[in-house]
């Protein structure tokens, strides 16, 4: 620490620092959101971007629990789902209404209703479950998710059974001149709410309650002795997390115009857990990065390879094992590194690590791709860069094994050296 004055104002970051660290990133984020459409993205890209926006809000809300409050949940999709369902119903009410409140309600406002519904669901479900933390909380969330999904399949009039419920986003009056028909208009809608959600959730971390949720994560026992009830803290945070998830649900209702019971189940909950964790739950921006990367991979990787789920699994395990700080950890580590005095040395280390990872990746990709084609049984042969790699050729396995082994060796070497320091 450089500034060692006893002046109390010097403790808090200077306004310049504040601007750089707390305002500038959001301005940049907003600018990016505004600029994107001017590159004329295709419809596919638009859809992807919209889903990324939804998942950013969803992942951040998830991380209010896991990263900030230390509450691992396997059922966060319940709140997104309930918020979303509520909004699809509203879409239908708007569609059916002749004037009146619903008739004059712009669809643009859906995330507000999703937020309210998510908060309500969080308040109801959180009441019993927040009395416990740790594994008990996680298990309750798992039970609740399965229960809600089963429940949804039973109540057709609310959840539409297997078929789910669809709505029409073009219903109701326009707002800001957006009919919400074409995807570009939906993009503006999503961008607006994503930005709002991100800013709101960031602000939340800066409130007393936000800070206390971190304190409760670190040491719930001690929180009691500074005058707070940890159960209460968890409960309030839980409601907010549910609310923002519901908001993401509202966004999704408009984008996808359909909700099905499975959106309440363990699968989407698990997916967002992975996204947030891969992104890095210790950083505010981690889940954002995770949501971007995972949504992109989830929708595009599958176009390139049948083995995309396997790659995701491998990636996730590697993150858990070697990079507990996730992508954000890498990004910020890099950023700190290039500004630190021994950057030369660090760069060397990174280069080696990168080379190791690259080699390892080649090995893994060869194995996976060849194996997948082999298992399909249609006799298709993988031909990267025009080199045919059938599963029964020795060359194939050499090309797989050598980089794999070399990669492992390089990485071990780097870690060893690091430990010796």
């Amino acid at each position: 620490m450089t500034d060692m004055t006893t002046n109390s104002a010097a403790l808090a970051p200077s306004s310049g620092e504040k601007f750089r660290e707390r305002v500038l990133p959001f301005i940049l984020f907003g600018l990016v959101l505004i600029v994107i459409p001017f590159f004329g993205p295709s419809r596919t890209t638009m859809t992807l971007l919209n889903h990324i926006g939804i998942n950013i809000v969803f992942a951040l809300s998830f991380n209010m629990l896991l990263g900030r409050a230390g509450l691992l949940t396997f059922g966060h999709a319940v709140y997104l789902g309930l918020g979303g369902y509520f909004c699809v119903h509203i879409l239908n009410w708007i569609d059916a209404a002749d004037g009146g409140f619903w008739g004059n309600l712009p669809v643009f406002s859906m995330p507000v209703f999703g937020f309210a519904m998510g908060a309500l669901a969080g308040a109801v479900i959180g009441w019993p479950s927040c009395r416990r933390a740790g594994t008990a909380f996680a298990m309750i969330s798992l039970g609740v998710a399965e229960l809600m999904a089963a429940f949804a399949y039973m109540f057709d009039s609310l959840f539409g059974g297997e078929m789910g419920i669809s709505g029409d986003r073009m219903a109701g009056p326009e707002f800001l001149g957006l009919s919400l028909g074409p995807l570009e208009e939906v993009y503006w809608f999503i961008a607006f709410w994503t930005f709002l959600g991100v800013v709101a959730m960031y602000m939340f971390t800066r409130t007393p309650l936000g800070k206390l949720s971190e304190a409760t994560r670190d040491n719930p026992e001690r929180v009691q002795f500074i005058g707070y009830n940890p159960t209460r803290v968890r409960y309030l945070v839980f409601i907010f997390a549910g609310a923002f998830a519901g908001m993401a649900g509202g966004m999704s209702a408009v984008q996808d115009e359909i909700f099905t019971p499975e959106s309440l189940s363990l699968l989407p909950s698990g997916a967002i857990l992975i996204a947030a964790y891969v992104g890095g739950i210790r950083y505010f921006s981690g889940p954002i990065m995770g949501a971007i990367v995972m949504t992109y991979m989830g929708s595009n990787l599958s176009d390139y390879t049948a083995g995309w789920l396997l790659y995701l699994g491998i990636m996730f395990i590697c993150v858990v094992m070697f990079l507990p700080d996730g992508i954000a950890g890498i990004v910020f580590g890099f950023w700190r590194g290039i500004r630190s005095p021994d950057r030369g040395h660090l760069m060397g280390k990174w280069a080696q690590q990168l080379a190791g990872v690259f080699l390892l990746a080649i090995g893994i990709i060869v194995f996976v791709e060849v194996a997948f084609r082999w298992s399909e049984g249609y006799g298709e042969v993988w031909e990267p860069f025009g080199i045919a790699l059938p599963h029964d050729a020795i060359l194939t396995w050499i090309i797989g094994i050598i980089p794999f082994v070399a990669g492992v060796a390089v990485l071990r070497h780097v870690t060893r050296k690091q430990e010796e320091v």
Binding site: T44, S166, P182
Partner: protein
């Protein structure tokens, strides 16, 4: 190049159902391509895995449309079909000039060609009421069946089957008692023994089920394990593995209604196709006859319209008739429901083509042919057509 998207489960518990159809379309379009394509354009067929999830299907649909596909084939699951119909309607309304057509080859909830009918949707399979008609006729003709048990999957299609059975049995023969009406979760039950136990206790003489995929196979497997040998009247007894699960027990207990049976009289051409299919895809049997019909009708309509534009093709499809291997197929213009012969078949040892790689196969039952005109049902469709 004409891009066609096939959206269905290609993995998971219902994967084989989707894959069997996918392979059929592959072969059908391969033949069409070999003969010069459709209006000179080669067909490019791409599969999209939807895991029988309506929401996932819409994501895949969007992807398919974005990649240039204008014809969407789907069949496994009426819940998915409903979502696709809705999405296609919206897409076509919002993107004039870029319309897409939905070719439904198996989702047979009657509503799709009745109150929920759409100009952009065409169904190539007979719907549940039509098939149920054949089944209930067959049951009422049998004096030894007095108690019937209904079991099905808990979703629109399962509900439609149950409703049709109740209604038609009530109308046709009031002496027949429905001793059970059960819906179980779709693709989630692993052990049907408790359900079979209930059937045994109800002392039913026959079971009617619309189950398909894994739910069909596991149901009859559990029945065989518990020694239940009453007739099973099914829509999809031909699902992969069902016959194998029952073995010889399936003879005269497993029945199905379909648009064709491999062992029935047909042209040499058809026999050759059946053999070619089996040889190309040894895991499956020739089962989705309507896939070949649908491909042929698409080609015929496009050539009749002289264009591969969906809207033109759709207009040409209306009222179009093609001569199928098991009789003529007509696309009724009123509701876009294909009209064709239906056949009731059961399992026999004495067959030309076995299924499931064993020497049992499907043969027509006596009086098992229902003519298209007899199978036809009225529609309530009020179709909105683009000008």
């Amino acid at each position: 190049e004409m891009k066609i998207a096939f959206i269905d489960p290609l993995s998971g518990p219902m994967g084989p159902s989707g894959d069997a159809a996918f392979t059929s379309y592959k072969l059908a379009f391969e033949h069409i391509n070999n003969e010069g394509g459709i209006n000179g354009e080669q067909v490019e067929l791409t599969g999209y895995d939807n895991k029988v999830s309506p929401k996932e299907s819409l994501v895949q649909l969007q992807k398919a449309i974005d990649s240039g596909a204008r014809y969407i084939f789907q069949g496994n699951g009426s819940s998915v079909a409903a979502a696709i119909i809705d999405a296609v309607n919206k897409h076509n309304a919002r993107n004039p000039g870029e319309e897409v057509l939905f070719m439904n080859y198996a989702a047979v909830t009657p509503a799709f060609t009745n109150e929920a009918c759409s100009f952009w949707h065409f169904r190539f399979d007979a719907h549940a009421d039509m098939k149920m008609n054949a089944i209930t006729d067959w049951i009422t003709a049998r004096d030894d069946i007095q108690k019937v048990y209904l079991i099905g999957q808990d979703y629109v299609f399962g509900e439609a089957v149950a409703a049709a059975a109740e209604k038609q049995l009530g109308e046709k023969d009031s002496s027949i008692e429905i001793v059970g009406n059960e819906l179980h979760p779709l693709a989630k039950v692993k052990d049907f023994t408790p359900y079979i136990q209930k059937i045994i206790q109800s002392e039913a003489d026959a079971v009617i089920t619309g189950n398909w995929g894994q739910d069909m196979t596991l149901l009859v497997k559990a029945a065989a394990d518990s020694g239940l040998t009453i007739p099973f009247l099914t829509f999809y007894g031909g699902s992969l593995g069902a016959v194998a699960a029952l073995g010889e027990g399936s003879i005269d207990t497993l029945y199905q209604v379909s648009e064709g049976v491999t062992n029935q009289e047909a042209s040499d051409e058809q026999y050759a196709l059946i053999e070619e299919y089996k040889q190309r895809f040894p895991d499956y049997d020739y089962y989705y006859h309507r896939a070949f019909v649908a491909a042929e009708m698409l080609k015929a309509a496009a050539e009749k319209a002289g264009s591969n534009e969906p809207i033109e093709v759709a207009k040409a499809l209306e009222g179009l008739t093609v001569e199928g291997a098991y009789g003529p197929v007509t696309m009724r213009a009123e509701d876009h429901q294909a009209q064709q012969n239906l056949y009731i078949s059961t399992v026999s040892k004495d067959v030309k083509y076995g299924v499931d790689n064993i020497d049992l196969g499907w043969v027509l039952v006596d009086n098992g042919t229902i003519d298209a005109s007899a199978a036809e049902e009225p529609t309530t469709c009020e179709m909105e057509r683009p000008e």
